[in-house]
Point group: C2
Chain length 696, copies 2
């Protein structure tokens, strides 16, 4: 892939001297930064911008690693054939007019794919803005050359984006506002060949890249992407566009790609240790925060707030608690140091309001900020500092160089919230950027980013698989037949038998053939019992009146048996089991996602929790840690710790079942869906009370 980033020789197919056209912009941008040989290709010109222009790729004498193609879509296949013949390694197709335009464009795009397969030439795009590398100064893009007139701002953040905007207008926006420096921005368009996985692989090894941000509307290979993220030691941020139904519709028409179910995507990203973003500037804020600061090892996120305003201290404390960080309890030594700065009447607390001290020392030579910063950075109870300051005409002069030196020495990050006059703000941000200190204009955003730094985790890349007892029982032959031949939903009894064999405990139930057997069976099982009528293809038993709960004696059981038989017209099965008592009900499920394959789902059960539709997802297979983290991601997971006098739930036992369910999904590709609802936490452990397996 390096030939895309550091090519030896670049051909520009579709170069033109017409300054209004993209073919001119590509050439002009190359001339600004690229040091190698540049070969404009266009049969209509002999020279452009002082360079000799070639009638065709084959007529170029020198070595060409990369061709940037910007000609009408229908001319692209021939151009690529020619590139392949010339020995070009990679082609960036920046022209549009492919899959994003409908059926004809899709066919055209397929023909490019065929050429790539046949010849081995790698294709980037089509329908993209190419690549900008702010460190090397390369811009392989038809973005307006004026955008580069103030130069690129180099930094540690790389982006891979499925939207041209982010590599053009947005890039100019964040660079001209001095929000962050950038390493590489890769606009991948329809990503027919080179996709986010290829680029992630490359960027993980790129020494200039500290953090990688993605804007993706679809995943080319969700499973591979997640595996790569897991193995990454660099923080990764993903913004997924197309979460809503309408958003997903727009995604379809925009890049002709498939937008997955967002909750599944969210689960997969969380499992892989990826930080999820929700908006463009916010994604950049997360990226630059993680590029400039890393979590001090083993520190939970206790924040000291240094402010010049009581109100902003209070609102910051609100956000810190909301984001799962904590407002640090300052140590006695810190308080002693601060009290010496403070006026007599003022008690020391965190948030540390420095304004009265600034007023007190206004005439002197004491740098109140610097001294307070030293005190809190030295405090073992403080993991990071959130510093509020003002750029402009007040007596608040923060020495950025001193701040940078102090935080570097202490090994603790400092995030800045900055207010002020427009020009002074810009100057401050410029200086802070040179010291790699993150500055924010909103309190909530600053705290959100600080939390992302502290909550960032590296999942183990070595997959410690959970051991599930296989019980030594092979799947009985008739169940094998069912799994191989049936389509649609299996009945509850068959579904539970399959689950049980694979290590998921189910209620012990029996099938009742006639009224006599009914009496004997229920007496043996013990009351109260549940009786259900099962019919092929009917999953909503309760609504059909086929579920009888709380049967307390043999007479009632017999009456239930007869009623159920009658309702089913003598068809179907009747099952009976001892009613399971337990206040905690869960839903456990499996679904087969188009992008991520088999994914497990865990949710709170019962009608009252179901209405709130709290559920978390994770792609299989899971490690033990994955399964435990999946459980801990569930809102309301405190319920497992012994809520309201209930005994605590064995999380490892639950994790094993989640794992087993994922394994079933991996083992039987014909299983489309599994619904265990409810899974009840009873005195005797966790047990599947009702279940449906759906075959494809």
């Amino acid at each position: 892939m390096d030939f895309f980033f550091n090519p030896e020789g670049i051909a520009v197919v579709g170069a033109t001297p017409n300054t209004l056209k993209g073919g001119y912009a590509i050439l002009k941008n190359l001339l600004t930064g690229y040091k190698g040989n540049i070969y404009p290709v266009n049969p209509r010109y002999s020279e452009i911008e002082g360079l000799p222009c070639y009638p065709s790729i084959s007529s170029i004498k020198g070595h060409v690693d990369l061709a940037i193609v910007f000609v009408p879509a229908k001319l692209v296949p021939a151009a690529i054939e020619e590139c392949a013949a010339k020995g070009v390694k990679g082609v960036m197709i920046e022209s549009g007019g492919f899959a994003e335009t409908g059926q004809d464009g899709s066919s055209l795009q397929q023909s490019l794919k065929d050429i790539s397969k046949k010849t081995g030439v790698r294709l980037w795009g089509p329908n993209c803005m190419g690549l900008v590398d702010a460190v090397s100064g390369y811009a392989f893009s038809f973005m307006n050359p004026l955008a580069l007139q103030h130069g690129l701002l180099p930094g540690g953040v790389s982006l891979v984006v499925q939207s041209g905007l982010l590599s053009a207008g947005f890039l100019i926006d964040i660079m001209t506002h001095h929000i962050t420096g950038i390493s590489k921005v890769c606009s991948i368009g329809n990503k027919m060949d080179v996709n986010e996985c290829d680029l992630l692989t490359y960027l993980l090894k790129d020494t200039n890249t500290k953090v990688i941000g993605f804007y993706l509307e679809s995943f080319s290979d969700g499973r591979l992407f997640i595996d790569l993220c897991r193995q990454s030691k660099k923080p990764i941020v993903v913004l997924h566009g197309g979460k809503s139904k309408k958003g997903a519709e727009a995604a379809m028409s925009h890049t002709a790609s498939l937008a997955g179910n967002h909750r599944v995507i969210s689960g997969a990203l969380a499992q892989a240790g990826v930080t999820e973003a929700r908006d463009f500037h916010q994604m950049i804020d997360l990226c630059r925060s993680m590029a400039s600061a890393s979590r001090p090892v083993g520190r939970p996120g206790r924040i000291a707030i240094l402010t010049f305003s009581g109100g902003s201290g209070i609102v910051s404390a609100d956000f810190i608690e909301e984001q799962g960080l904590s407002v640090a309890e300052l140590s006695p030594a810190t308080k002693d140091a601060l009290v010496r700065l403070f006026p007599d009447w003022m008690p020391v607390s965190n948030p540390v309001d420095l304004w009265p001290s600034i007023e007190k020392h206004g005439g002197g030579n004491i740098d109140v900020y610097s001294m307070a910063l030293s005190a809190v950075l030295a405090d073992p109870n403080v993991d990071a500092v959130f510093l509020h300051t003002y750029a402009g005409n007040f007596r608040i002069g923060l020495n950025i160089a001193d701040l940078a030196e102090q935080t570097r020495t202490a090994g603790k990050p400092a995030f800045i919230w900055l207010l002020g006059r427009r020009e002074e703000i810009f100057n401050f941000m410029t200086e802070a950027l040179s010291y790699d200190i993150p500055v924010f204009r909103e309190l909530s955003r600053a705290v959100e980013c600080l939390a992302a730094v502290f909550h960032q985790r590296n999942p183990p890349s070595v997959v410690e698989r959970l051991q599930v007892k296989e019980e030594g029982i092979p799947l009985p032959g008739e169940l094998n037949d069912v799994l191989a031949t049936v389509s649609g939903p299996l009945d509850e009894h068959t579904s539970k038998r399959i689950l049980k064999v694979h290590g998921i405990p189910t209620v012990e139930e029996e099938i009742i053939a006639d009224a006599n057997q009914c009496k004997n069976t229920v007496s043996r099982i013990g009351f109260p019992v549940v009786m259900k009528g099962l019919q092929q293809g009917k999953v909503h038993k309760t609504e059909l009146g086929l579920v009888h709960l709380g049967i307390n004696d043999a007479g009632a059981a017999r009456r239930s048996f007869e009623t159920l038989m009658e309702k089913m017209n003598g068809q179907g099965k009747i099952i009976v089991y001892r009613q399971v008592e337990g206040k905690i009900e869960l839903i456990l499920g499996l679904l087969r996602d188009l992008q991520f394959g088999p994914c497990v789902m865990l949710g709170l059960g019962g009608i009252m929790a179901e209405i709130l539709s709290e559920a978390v997802f994770a792609p299989a297979p899971l490690t033990e840690q994955d399964a435990l983290e999946l459980i801990s991601r569930l809102r309301g997971q405190r319920i497992f710790d012994g809520f309201r006098g209930e005994p605590p739930v064995n999380r490892k036992e639950l994790a094993r079942m989640i794992f087993a369910l994922g394994d079933i999904g991996l083992k039987y590709p014909r299983i489309q869906e599994i619904d265990i609802n409810p899974m009840i936490i009873s005195e005797n452990g966790i047990v599947a009370v009702d279940a449906t397996i759906v075959l494809g």
Copy 2:
């Protein structure tokens, strides 16, 4: 109150020629904008800034409406006495050193209050930044005079803030960035006399004020504030600082005032039609949005997105759905109009991606934005436009004047998301501000503000009280005695009797005195029954084993009776009632909030929902609409519409119970708390199954 805003004659007590001091800044700021007579007061000078300086207030010859006091705290009481003697109507005390500094300061503050009561002089502050009026150009504040050097930016947003920051550094920030124009900013500090209610009353009548934003750490009179908000025809935005425990602690030390329970505050604000903000800039964004746009009457919020980027269209659609707005389905006429702008291959959909059209017409004279805007504004299915544009070096030239004219004519708001180069962004924002068109830098913020405009509601100011059947049954004498004399929790039986008399249906239960009565009673009631042992002061009956559920025959009932008797050592009462069946369980409660008085609470019940602690609050009394809206604010309120085959719940019936509960709180001030848990939705309606009333 008008003498604070448009005073005839102002004395500056503590004026000084020392340019580093606040007493100089106040004078300098007055000279910049105030047109009336200014009287510096300081015995040490005879002239300051060309004005004669007076040794005392009493020595001033002219009329003085307002005195701005900036002298050490201990000198303030004498100054106010003098002001009162002179006939000054209002005093702005900008000095600090009062309640915010501890016990001594509190006493000093109390002495000011006493003077105010005695003399009738109104006091603003202390510990505040005073008042800035950007329309009249008045700054009655010790903020740095340099801040005003570029002038104030007048507009329709007024602020009342309990933090000096927002009226100084923050104000300069938003004005120099041309984010919004401002009418009045009132910094109220310790608000010992003039408080948020006084200023809300004034600003509701102020013709320059279109929207009022508050930053409050406490409410001086929560109930009055809410009543005023209810009656307001102007949008009101409130940011409450001190939500978290830590935040609240900081609030205590910052303004020595009481921060209430945030969920109660949130409920009270929602009930009064107030929009809640969470951060400073976000509060301003909400205010300026509502100042520039109002909801087109009767329109639900169907948004047309005009963009130059597919990706930002997709992410916008995600936010629009998330915020409870919808992406408009364009009418055929609109599609016809748009398709004429589009290249042939491109289908028309919303989001409307204009980039291909801009490319198509790049060389021509067609203003694609303007034409697309006309088309969507004319569409009856479109309620507002979210327009994305770029300021800088692309071929995207939005004509702001045309946009303003078109949206004004159509009566539909247009919100702009703007990217671009720093200088061009500023110029664009400046022009857009002059046309009162809101511009945003983040997609999520723009959509959030658009949603706030569409979700803004005016609750009816005329309180249509719900009628609760009083049943003609007066509270029996012994219950009256209980309510008058007992402290702490009442037992379940007594609690339910009190609730029943006030119109809240409860289970029909009986007290069992002995084993014989037990048999007769349970046989009459019908099985299954519930038996409970009640002991004075013991509220956690389940944990004590005093609740027996599902008793199915007389023998079991007798055994339960004996077990309960034994457990209670023959003390206490045993109650029995027929077990209530129903899948939907609620919690209904009442608490007495220090700022808002009696407030009702509605939550989902059962252990599975309780763990998610979903609950909503509203202060009593409620109108029918309030109670129905309280119900609709509950997350998961869809459960009342017939979820999973359950019959729908009568919302009006539930509303009447909520109302009745609030009424009980208003009627009996000794009731501190009521907990109805569970309230079960059964076949026979909604019924309180367990309840506890706690007396103070």
